[in-house]
């Protein structure tokens, strides 16, 4: 086993462990802390896979931005109340459906690996642009421009929606 493989298993295992801790902790703040750690180990896995840009964005956006906004809300909940929050919200059906989708995705990757088929063309295409950052940038603004724009519009709609919801409540 090479060093790269060794570190991959270490980081992958630790990230799974921390992800498990996220869903099992009763205290929401502890969950958030473990979520940050999980993102870090995932970023480490990205670095091992030579996707440095993805790793940096992972830390910058998810560990640095998203979780800090989540924590902002969680912190306002009192500590005693936070530990008594209902853990089962009756969303088993939705959760199971999403888990199934994820399992199918992972399964397809495993199948492609064992059937010795190439897992995708994106990585090969990205190679011709040289660097990591250039590759992602060039693909995102040429071939995948439409999905990119759709995602942007969705985010904008979500933002406007959040403002409208908050404003309604204020006026009431």
């Amino acid at each position: 086993m090479s060093w790269t493989q060794f570190f991959f298993y270490v980081f992958a295992g630790l990230s799974l462990l921390c992800a498990l801790m996220v869903v099992t902790r009763r205290n929401a703040v502890h969950s958030a802390i473990f979520l940050i750690i999980t993102f870090f180990f995932m970023a480490a896995v990205f670095v091992i896979l030579k996707a440095e840009l993805l790793a940096a964005v992972q830390v910058l956006v998810y560990a640095g931005g998203v979780v800090s906004l989540m924590l902002y809300v969680i912190m306002l909940v009192k500590a005693e109340e936070a530990s008594q929050v209902k853990q089962n919200l009756g969303q088993i059906a939705i959760a199971a459906f999403i888990a199934l989708l994820l399992a199918l995705q992972v399964g397809s990757i495993v199948y492609l690996y064992f059937a010795q088929k190439p897992a995708g063309k994106a990585a090969v295409e990205a190679l011709k642009y040289g660097g990591n950052t250039e590759g992602i940038g060039a693909l995102l603004y040429t071939k995948y421009l439409f999905p990119f724009e759709v995602a942007s519009v969705l985010l904008l709609a979500a933002m406007v929606g959040a403002i409208v919801l908050a404003k309604n409540r204020l006026e009431r």
């Binding site: 205290n27 703040v29 502890h30 802390i33 940050i36 440095e52 840009l53 790793a55 940096a56 964005v57 830390v59 910058l60 560990a63 640095g64 931005g65 800090s68 906004l69 924590l71 902002y72 912190m75 306002l76 500590a79 660097g131 990591n132 950052t133």
Partner: protein
Amino acid sequence: MVEIVIVTIVKLLIYFGIMLLFVAYGTLAERKVAGHIQDRLGPYHCGPHGILQPLADGIKLFFKEDIVASASDKFVYFLAPALAVVPPVLVLAVIPIGDSITIGGKTIPLAVADVNIALLYFLGVTSLTVYAIMLGGWAGNSKYPLLGGLRSAAQFISYELILGLSIIGVVMLVGSFNLIDIVRYQKDMWLVIKQPVAFITYMIAAIAELNRAPFDLPEAESELVGGYHTEYSSMKFALFFLGEYANMVVSSAIATALFLGGWYAPVHWLSFIPGPIWFLIKTFALFFFMLWIRWTYPRLRYDQLMGMCWRFLMPVTLLNILGTGLFVILKNGGL
């Protein structure tokens, strides 16, 4: 392989030592500068002109009683001060203190890691500083630190955007996230001349991110007792303090690399002085600038702070990006 590991460890130890020295004497410099700006002498008793004051402060902090708030969340309470010191130490890895030196026929690059996403790494790692402050404020289970923590989180997230946006102008001109490439680009002309707006917005955002006066609302003594670290004492308090100064050093160092030409001498006939010395001089100059600002301007009001960020700095940085983009296109021969 073994050689690389040893060289890296030695480099890390040296830079860590330099940073600790910088931090220790930064606290002394802060008090001396404050003193002279207010027409006093500042610390004067420990050694000549108070030169041993950081040592005395360190010993004092070590021997203070370590109080643990009984209603606190112990895990988070102990974690937060440690988190405050981690980000600046991690950033040390990408600071390009010099080009390279030759020892015994081997060329050794002076930066610890030559990463092609160094700037994103810097932004990502420093964005973790906010957790130390937020969690520190929350863990004490008391209202003033919590208010301080919340204020700081809002401020940090807003100004982080400005920090990132002001860097983009530099990245567009150089065409790389690599700090070493950025410094090499400035061999003939510093980027502060080409990107003056970016430099100013970067410095404002850096000071605001560090919660220093005039942006020190999260620790406004008159309203919030001491802010997020009210419930901490002894070495745990000292770690928050250490983290703040280490962050100042690191932000100054990154600004040096981005705007002030890194290790290059300002004029050619001065280039007999080695690069790392220049880098440290420039870093200290920016560090001094931060002290100077702190003791010159009064604290902003909270709405002024947020208004300045979203209504003034945001459009200015966006315009700077547009202008730089136009310049780059025209320079490359139009569309």
